[in-house]
């Protein structure tokens, strides 16, 4: 490629560059470097390598936009290119979207997690598009010998008086234009948006509905073998002996061996990212057919060193938590005012013990990775939410340089946080290295359910105090969780400023911990998905004790922030969504039949404000049906893609419903007891009520939607059950409780 590179400042550390394409047209990308001079030099030298940039504009007028982030079903592969196309001012029909590989020299923030893509990229992606538009305008103005300021664009065409040139016609000339500084390039007035705010269907939909290969599990490379990996059912256990020869003799099996990365992983672990995984230890079976190698597992006879976790069980955790609740807490996480004193002098007090179980992520596509060592490096195809962290940690564990690892990002069959962790990638790499051939590792559903990074269970021992007028004056939570030493296990922590902190004058949050040998991690709306159930249920108990309407009690509480307190969120925004959901759900005014009731809850997480009402019907025999869910959300002034926004919110709400109804992971002898969808139950269509979604369009920066609609559903449902039956659900899942009433 005969490259003419021009660079422009993208940010303190990033540069836009433009390259002329050999066949005509232009390529615009950003290159990130620690210093500008080196960035520019790298851009010039690396024109060929720059093919995976942001925009490729060809003379046919088609803009190919690279989708930089991993797609897990959150819609980011459509959303980020929409932002670029909007400011480029090109019709969506002239846009093609391609998935970028992971490449930290070209992209920033290639990660799916934390509902972060919108807040991170809303401005920067628009600036890339706006800079490209400015160059096309400059190219046209140069040709017409006029001032670019006098030119306008519309739908992929530059206009000046009666002259016009299409972007396709201008693409080659625009490659000669100096890129503008993207930080100062003007952005559109939102009133002029033509793509942002439109309902744009997912860009992969045509491939999804025709069954084209898109997912990690669909990858095939020449000479590839299939692999399964058998681990000790006790978390952390190791192989002592195994009948490998018998397994090798099984049909379709070409190799079987023990993989033990315990030593390497332990030495590397000190410098791992936050998404660290346990060192793999187990038996790999490799062969010509995945089904045959998986069948060969039944012939395995292994003696395991089960290790210390074999003594851990759900029943033991429950006993231990109760014992800890009766002792002085290990430490204080937060103390405002004098909770003990205020509880002693309160007009009314209420005590309750809440608990929630461990949960699995259960993405429908089982974990898998294809790994190929060649040309002195490692090439991987993996469904991974965190390629940057995975690559760094893999390099340390495998002892190879980071730049020798290539990660191709595949579409993911769900993530929900499971694919923040890269254990299956490490297993695939170790197996491929030992087998000496490219290997596709595919887990079974049983592997996936048993060897998750579970949402940790937890226990909360609560006491609340009301004054004479029924106002909340004291709150004490002794949180019994998991962890060792000073550290909570991943996702087993609780923020010291969780609601109702800063809304109650006397607030104490205390914690005790139990050791845990079972891996835990982030599940969609981590910590919030559990804590919202506890807090919003106990708030409901206090409202009932105060003799107040539970929704009004919450509104009053949001008004009650004592002077000098700084809540974790904006109480006005939360009140607005509560008032909206009150009005939309007919709260307190709907004429509900006997056996039907409504419950409410709100939660702030991932910068999003969500208040939700669940309407449920419980027969006297205790049969539960969920009739409808109303959601009111505030994620700022703009929904980038309203179709996907509603889909995400409905899915998150129903995810919360599934968790509350009948999901639980339990342990016995250090083993996960659940194994597949018959005993870890996902929601089905006949259990899915309509979910109405309403928005408060507040004048705030747009934020993400993958997670924050989930947390209010479990407590709102439990509060609805109370409204009907008078029974409080203080432990999940609901399926364990008798809901019959008279």
């Amino acid at each position: 490629m005969n490259a003419v590179d021009k660079t422009g400042n993208l940010s303190r550390r990033g540069f836009l560059h433009v390259t002329a394409l050999a066949g005509g047209g232009m390529l615009i990308g950003a290159r990130f470097s620690l210093d500008g001079a080196r960035g520019a030099a790298a851009a010039t030298a690396g024109a060929d390598a720059a093919l995976n940039a942001f925009i490729r504009l060809t003379p046919d007028g088609i803009a190919t936009i690279m989708a930089q982030n991993p797609e897990i079903g959150q819609g980011v592969k459509t959303m980020l290119p929409m932002l670029i196309a909007e400011e480029l001012d090109i019709p969506w029909s002239q846009v093609r979207v391609e998935q970028a590989d992971f490449d930290s020299t070209k992209y920033r923030g290639q990660m799916a997690g934390g509902s972060m893509a919108t807040p991170m990229h809303y401005q920067s992606m628009r600036r890339v598009g706006a800079a490209a538009r400015a160059m096309l305008v400059a190219a046209a103005a140069k040709q017409w010998k006029t001032d670019p300021e006098k030119c306008t664009t519309e739908a992929g065409v530059v206009h000046f008086k009666k002259k016009s040139l299409s972007y396709g016609e201008l693409a080659t000339a625009a490659a000669e234009i100096e890129p503008p500084n993207p930080r100062t390039v003007p952005l559109k007035d939102p009133a002029d948006f033509r793509i942002i705010g439109q309902e744009i269907p997912g860009v992969d939909n045509p491939k999804i509905v025709t069954g084209e290969p898109l997912f990690g599990i669909d990858v095939t490379v020449p000479g590839m073998k299939y692999a399964v990996f058998e681990k000790c059912r006790v978390h952390g256990g190791k192989v002592k002996t195994a009948n490998l020869d018998a397994v090798k003799a099984s049909p379709g099996v070409t190799d079987a061996f023990v993989v033990d990365a315990t030593a390497q992983a332990e030495s590397a672990a000190a410098s791992f990212s936050m998404f660290q995984v346990a060192p793999p230890n187990g038996i790999a079976i490799v062969g010509d057919s995945w089904w045959l190698v998986n069948e060969a597992r039944s012939k395995l006879e292994v003696t395991w060193d089960e290790g210390p976790t074999a003594s851990q069980s759900t029943a033991a955790f429950d006993r231990q938590a109760e014992e800890l609740s009766m002792q002085a807490p290990e430490r204080d996480l937060r103390n405002d005012g004098d909770a003990a004193g205020a509880l002693a002098s309160a007009a009314k007090t209420l005590e309750a013990a809440y608990q929630y179980p461990f949960l699995a992520h259960a993405p429908l596509e089982p974990q898998n990775t294809t790994a190929h060592f060649h040309h002195g490096g490692l090439e991987m195809w993996a469904p991974i939410q965190t390629p940057q962290f995975a690559r760094g940690d893999l390099a340390k564990t495998l002892g190879i340089p980071e730049d020798q690892i290539t990660i191709h990002l595949t579409r993911m069959g769900g993530g929900f946080g499971r694919r923040l962790y890269w254990d299956y990638m490490l297993e695939a790499a170790l197996i491929a290295r030992q087998a000496g051939v490219p290997v596709k590792l595919v887990w079974t559903r049983e592997d996936d359910t048993r060897f998750d990074f579970f949402r940790p269970g937890g226990y909360h021992y609560l006491k609340g105090g009301l004054d004479d007028s029924g106002n909340l004056v004291a709150w004490r939570d002794h949180f019994v969780s998991f962890g060792e030493g000073p550290r909570f296990a991943p996702s087993a922590e609780m923020a010291p400023n969780e609601f109702p902190q800063a809304f109650v004058p006397n607030f104490a949050l205390q914690a005790s911990k139990m050791p845990l040998g079972i891996p835990t991690g982030a599940l969609r709306a981590p910590t919030s998905n559990a804590i919202s159930f506890v807090v919003q249920s106990f708030i409901d108990e206090l409202a009932a004790e105060a003799g107040k309407d539970p929704l009004q009690f919450r509104l009053d509480l949001l008004d009650a922030a004592p002077d000098g307190m700084r809540p974790a969120f904006d109480a006005k925004r939360m009140k607005a969504v509560l008032e909206l959901v009150r009005d939309k759900s007919g709260w307190g005014t709907a004429d509900l039949p006997e056996g039907t009731g409504q419950g409410v809850a709100f939660h702030f997480s991932h910068r999003g404000y969500f208040a939700e009402v669940v309407q449920a019907t419980v027969s006297k025999e205790g049969e539960l049906g969920v009739d409808r869910i109303w959601v009111a959300g505030d994620v700022g002034r703009q929904l980038v893609n309203p179709s996907n926004a509603v889909n995400q919110v409905q899915g998150a709400a129903l995810d919360g419903l599934a968790q509350a109804l009948d999901q639980e992971i339990t342990f016995e002898g250090g083993r996960t007891k659940e194994s597949n969808f018959h005993n870890f139950k996902l929601l089905r269509i006949d259990q899915a009520p309509p979910v109405e979604v309403h928005w408060v369009m507040s004048d705030n920066q747009p934020t993400g939607l993958g997670e924050p609609a989930l947390p209010p559903v479990p407590p709102a449902l439990c509060n609805a059950i109370f409204a009907v039956t008078g029974k409080r659900i203080r432990s999940l899942p609901i399926a364990k409780h008798d809901l019959s009433w008279t």
Binding site: D204, V209, T210, F215, E365, G414, N676, F677, I685, P690
Partner: protein, 169 residues
């Protein structure tokens, strides 16, 4: 052993162990990746195909049972993605992650073939074996009703969906 069946309208013969599930024959022997592995035990429906027009979970169906049958996978549902269910799925913008949708579409198309105007109750009954982990159930239901309308309309019709993002499921 050699097993012969009609796959997406074409005569096909495969050499495979007779007890090997049809799913793995499709995916790994015949390189048709559209049919998905989700649970391996008929719980999730991601592997749904049509066997003589009826929906079947291919993860539990030994390939020997395919002998002489007509098998249709998502790749063979239409030549160009123009089956009313495939069109409706796009117009309603059903997918989130998309992994289950091939199985959903195969179950939905089998439903509509036998019941051109299904009620919500019919849909619940026919589709409750198909899990969508992203829980796009409201749109699946809407898309089945929409497909029913598309199938009735003349093929040249340009009837459009009521919109992808209605605020109600």
């Amino acid at each position: 052993m050699a097993i012969a069946f009609t796959l997406n309208g074409k005569s096909t013969t495969v050499e495979a162990p007779p007890e090997m599930p049809l799913l793995w024959v499709l995916r790994d022997e015949l390189d048709l990746k559209g049919t998905k592995f989700g649970c391996g035990r008929s719980f999730c429906g991601a592997c749904t195909v049509h066997v003589n027009g009826e929906p079947e979970r291919s993860c539990r169906m030994p390939v020997s049972r395919a002998e002489g049958k007509e098998i249709t996978t998502i790749e063979g549902l239409s030549e160009d993605g123009a089956h009313p269910v495939q069109v409706a799925w796009q117009e309603i913008d059903v997918p989130q992650c998309g992994y289950c949708q091939a199985g959903q579409i195969m179950s939905a198309s089998a439903l509509l073939a036998g019941n051109p105007q299904p009620t919500d109750g019919d849909i619940d009954e026919a589709m409750s074996g198909n899990i969508c982990r992203c829980a796009t159930y409201g749109r699946i239901r809407a898309a089945i009703h929409h497909a029913a309308k598309l199938a009735q309309a003349p093929p040249t019709s340009h009837e459009t969906a009521t919109g992808a993002g209605g605020s109600e499921a």
